[in-house]
């Protein structure tokens, strides 16, 4: 199932709706990496609230997405990881190092807003 990607101001929001196959994940990666420059976005939020399992491929792909997007000049936040999923991931050693995480969509938006506000204010000085 394809993941819809919405544009909201300077951000892109991708909300996972149902369990993803490996092919879906690769498709998501391709689409996000392309869109982020196309739409001139500076923040990406990936909402995984609907996922109740996250295997090694999924978490590796998500980490890759975040790192590639950083190279493309934007910031990524993963939001909505379920408590059980989080603990299972950590036990498998999948800790998404170097990737920002937030509790839910609202927190994610706040995180990005804050980040870019401070970036904008430091640019002004």
């Amino acid at each position: 199932m394809e993941v819809p990607i919405l544009k909201q101001g300077g951000f892109l929001i991708a909300t996972v709706q149902a369990a993803l196959t490996d092919a879906d994940l690769l498709q998501l990666r391709r689409a996000l990496v392309e869109r982020v420059v196309q739409m001139r976005s500076y923040g990406v939020i990936l909402d995984v609230t609907a996922l109740d399992v996250m295997d090694s491929f999924a978490s590796r792909t998500i980490r890759e997405i975040a790192h590639i997007i950083r190279l493309r000049g934007a910031e990524t936040v993963i939001v909505g990881i379920q408590p059980e999923v989080a603990f299972a991931m950590v036990q498998l050693g999948l800790t998404l190092e170097g990737v920002a995480t937030a509790l839910d969509l609202e927190e994610g938006l706040q995180y990005l807003n804050q980040k870019f506000k401070s970036a904008a204010s430091s640019a002004k000085h």
Partner: protein, 377 residues
Amino acid sequence: MERYPQLIHSATESPGNCIMSHPGVEAIDSKEEDLRYLPEVFCSCFLDCRLGGRMVRKFMYMGRGTILQMERSRLMVRKRDGDVVTQNETAEATPRSETTTRLLRELVAHLRQNRTPVREEWVGRITEAQLLMAMTKEEIFAEATSVYDSYVAALETGTFEALQNYARNLSERIIPRGVETHEVVGIVLLLRDVLARSLFAKYQGDFEQLNRILDAYEPAANRIANTVAVGFVQERERVIRQQQEAIRELSTPVLQVRERLLILPIIGVIDPQRARQLTEQLLRGIRTNRAKVVVIDITGVAAMDASVANHLVQTVEASRLLGATVIVTGLSPEIAQTLVTIGVDLGKMNTVGDLQGGIEQAERLLGYKVVMIAEAG
């Protein structure tokens, strides 16, 4: 655990059930495939019982252990102390033979007749052995009378349900008074000996008859001793489990001190099970309180082994995946050393000396500023 229905404890009462019980499970159905899932079993011994659909006889006490191998008629158990016990004697159980029944009837008549002297002898021996010191002499006598009667009834009918219920009931009453397992086992064994002595006295002239009577008496008596002891131990284990449960629930509070700031004070020994429970409760707490910062205070934890320390680190990382920052406070020198020895990446751990410092840092992270009213005014 739901896999295993609670069953009654006596194999003799319902063939096919229960020669094994497991901490956490009252008793389980002894189907081969089920037993394989258990990490540890408590094998105790009834004289004939079923194992995987086959009758196994003379299955004697083994204690706790891990099942190594299990086939139709062969059971290998590695006991806690490392010994391997193999149980492979199988045979079809023989129903109580005609003669056994007759002999037992004779025996029961004898015991009924000598109820008063034998009972007094027994109580005397109990006092002499200094068992049941927690009870008064009258209480011992009253309990002894009911135990004696249930005992004789069990011998007579060959069913142990009533005795079992009585044993459980008795255990419930005496456990809070501090009666120990060895005392309960001790008094039942004493009764067995006293009864055997009275049989010796009665049949001393007729050795053949004495032998036959003992043949009938011994298995039944052993089974009774077992039923009572197992009943007592199971009741104790039930009480212990209940208490552990209660302690656990009390001991892991997740408290909100400010909007979006949780504290989790940990006191006492952390075992892997409690560590898991802590993590679960913390992660759930982060979600329901929408916490951004969590202070875990482990001032009250004296020591921590490597696996629990690892678990703590995992909890920190899992919290980060939920978007919360964890600050660990009150690390004792020993725990700090453990963390370093197991090579925890301290870059990921946010540690502050004491709880106050932790809360102050958390407030800074959240953008709070605490000001004295006088200064502010």
